[in-house]
């Protein structure tokens, strides 16, 4: 290194309190001036050992702990866990429960997208959008509170279906909230998404090419922003996604702005899905009762179950040895790739001012990485 470079090289430690990512995460960065030479992520701040705790709990007891893994988007966890147990134990789920589960998944996706849109704009100083989206997200929280009894953690889906049916008049209130959020979308566009300042800040930042995306294992909205129309809901359909018609929005640039646009378009798709569910949902029971949970044994077997969470492909690998407790549950969070190596690759070569923009655009969720 020449004399001058040597002077300007230094190491910077960022985190763990909220460098720009929703959760405790820290980076060791080598910088030259404001250019990041290399970045090394360091996680583990939110590690509670879920997979170990799940091995020491009965099958029914795990539905309470599973949704705590990824906080902004808890429902894919519950869905994965319920479906994994159903696949191994061969439990039939009543038709209506499938529809309710899809509704809960889509509402959770919308809440998480609103959260990340707000956060993404906040990293570039546009706090007004954060105020708006989080306030609107609260409407969805209230829907969850009505349906499941809990605002954030729903503990609602369990092996065999869901715990409670719709409260009366719920469908009408869901449609009201959908109309309200749909009417808010243009306001978001005017304020931030079409705001030229924001566009300049977000364009050309953290670019991922199509080939890189596939080889780095990027999934979900980040992959669709690079032009690959891959979505678990279409490729590996589960619940009732094969009975609903919706498109997969994709962009081609693969930069931070493209990822935001994909999320913004997915919001529209989710609203349209929720409307379809509300008017097509069949009536009937919502839970195919499992035997007495204190004694229930799931036959030996294993299952790899995938859902499309707002962050990407969210998968569970569950193994049962015929006992009352799962023998092994491996949680493959979407951020295991986005939050770790993809982030390190993108940060290397970027500028320190754009670091938080990159982090938030990937929408990585550290508890998924630490489990």
């Amino acid at each position: 290194m020449s004399k001058i470079d040597e002077v300007r090289d230094y190491e910077l430690f960022i985190g763990p309190n909220h460098p720009g990512i929703a959760g405790n995460y820290s980076f060791k960065m080598k910088l030259r001036g404001d250019k990041v030479l290399s970045a090394k992520t360091d996680a583990g701040y939110l590690h509670r050992g879920f997979e170990k705790l799940m091995e020491e709990r009965l099958f029914i007891q795990n539905i309470a702990i599973v949704c705590r893994i990824c906080v902004p988007d808890p429902d894919p966890n519950e869905n994965n866990y319920a479906r994994a147990v159903e696949e191994i134990a061969g439990i039939e789920v009543p038709e209506r429960a499938h529809w309710i589960r899809t509704l809960v998944l889509e509402l959770s996706r919308m809440a998480s997208h609103l959260f990340s849109l707000g956060g993404h704009a906040a990293t570039t100083g546009l706090y007004v959008l954060a105020n708006w989206t989080i306030a609107d997200r609260d409407r969805i929280m209230e829907l969850f509170e009505e349906l499941t009894g809990g605002r954030v953690y729903h503990i609602y889906q369990l092996p065999g279906g869901v715990r409670r049916d719709f409260p009366d008049g719920f469908g009408r209130r869901v449609l009201e909230v959908m109309d309200y959020i749909e009417s808010r979308l243009p306001d978001y566009d005017d304020l931030a998404i079409n705001n030229s300042l924001f566009i300049k800040r977000a364009t050309g930042i953290g670019v991922i090419t199509k080939e890189q995306a596939i080889s780095w294992g990027v999934t979900g909205p980040n992959l669709r922003a690079c032009g690959v129309a891959a979505d678990v809901r279409k490729d590996d359909p589960y619940e009732v996604y094969d009975k609903l018609d919706f498109e997969i929005p994709t962009m081609t640039e693969g930069d931070s702005y493209a990822r935001m646009i994909v999320r913004r378009k997915e919001l529209v798709q989710s609203i349209n899905i929720v409307r379809q569910i509300i008017d097509k949902i069949p009536s009937g029971p919502v839970w195919n009762k499992i035997p007495n949970p204190l004694k229930w044994k799931v036959p030996a077997g294993d299952a790899y179950v995938r859902t499309e969470s707002s962050k990407g492909e969210y998968a569970y690998y569950m193994v049962s040895d015929g006992g009352r407790k799962p023998y092994r549950v491996h949680v493959r969070g979407a951020s295991t790739t986005h939050g770790v190596h993809v982030l390190e690759n993108l940060l290397a070569g970027s500028r320190i001012e754009d670091a938080s923009q990159i982090m938030f655009s990937l929408d990585a969720c550290p508890p998924e990485v630490d489990r």
Binding site: G44, S215, T219, V228, A230, H330, D370
Partner: protein, 179 residues
């Protein structure tokens, strides 16, 4: 034939891996059991020849009674839309068990292998980054191994609260009263 697509994929693989056992678990799910030394060639063909470009995850299961770790590689094919679960067994030593890395083929493997190393103590030779990532401050044994009981560790290491609520004192007093 029911799983037409899945079976055609299996035939293609069966030719090159006769000793592997292929089964179709359900739609879009193929399970492969093969000897551990054949895994690397299988991974290369999966990526280069059969178009399984996405390594969804590497899971590890600690079969303590059989004295073996089971590594499960989940490959996904974007075009065929099929998931292949390749299962191999490696011996479970007291200290570090060893296995070869496939992180040169797939970058996500770096994280999964490092995670399995921390949690189970399996060292993946050839992988660049095997130091601590999540459990940097953990001094105990690899926690996900079956012989480590987290409840006992927690009960003996951490302090738990003893409550003395007012209602319990009143209740006990009332209890004394009419004794």
């Amino acid at each position: 034939m029911e799983y037409q697509k899945e079976n055609s994929i299996i035939e293609a693989m069966q030719l090159e891996f006769p000793e592997a056992a292929f089964t179709v678990k359900k739609a879009r799910r193929i399970e492969v059991k093969l000897p551990s030394k054949r895994l690397y060639d299988f991974a290369v063909r999966m990526q280069k020849k059969w178009g399984f470009l996405h390594l969804s995850a590497i899971s590890c299961v600690d079969w303590i009674n059989d004295g073996e770790f089971e590594l499960v590689y989940h490959f996904w094919n974007y075009d065929e839309k099929v998931l292949v679960m390749a299962k191999i067994r490696i011996p479970r030593e007291k200290g570090d068990s060893h296995f070869e890395t496939i992180s040169n083929l797939w970058q996500p493997a770096k994280f999964f292998e490092r995670d399995i190393h921390e949690m189970f103590g399996i060292y993946f030779d050839g992988s660049e980054d095997m130091e601590g990532f999540i459990l940097t401050d953990w001094t105990g044994p690899p926690p996900m191994r079956k012989d480590f009981i987290t409840r006992e560790y927690a009960l003996n290491f951490f302090h738990y609260r003893e409550y003395e609520p007012q209602w319990l004192k009143d209740m006990m007093a009332a209890g004394e009263g009419n004794e």
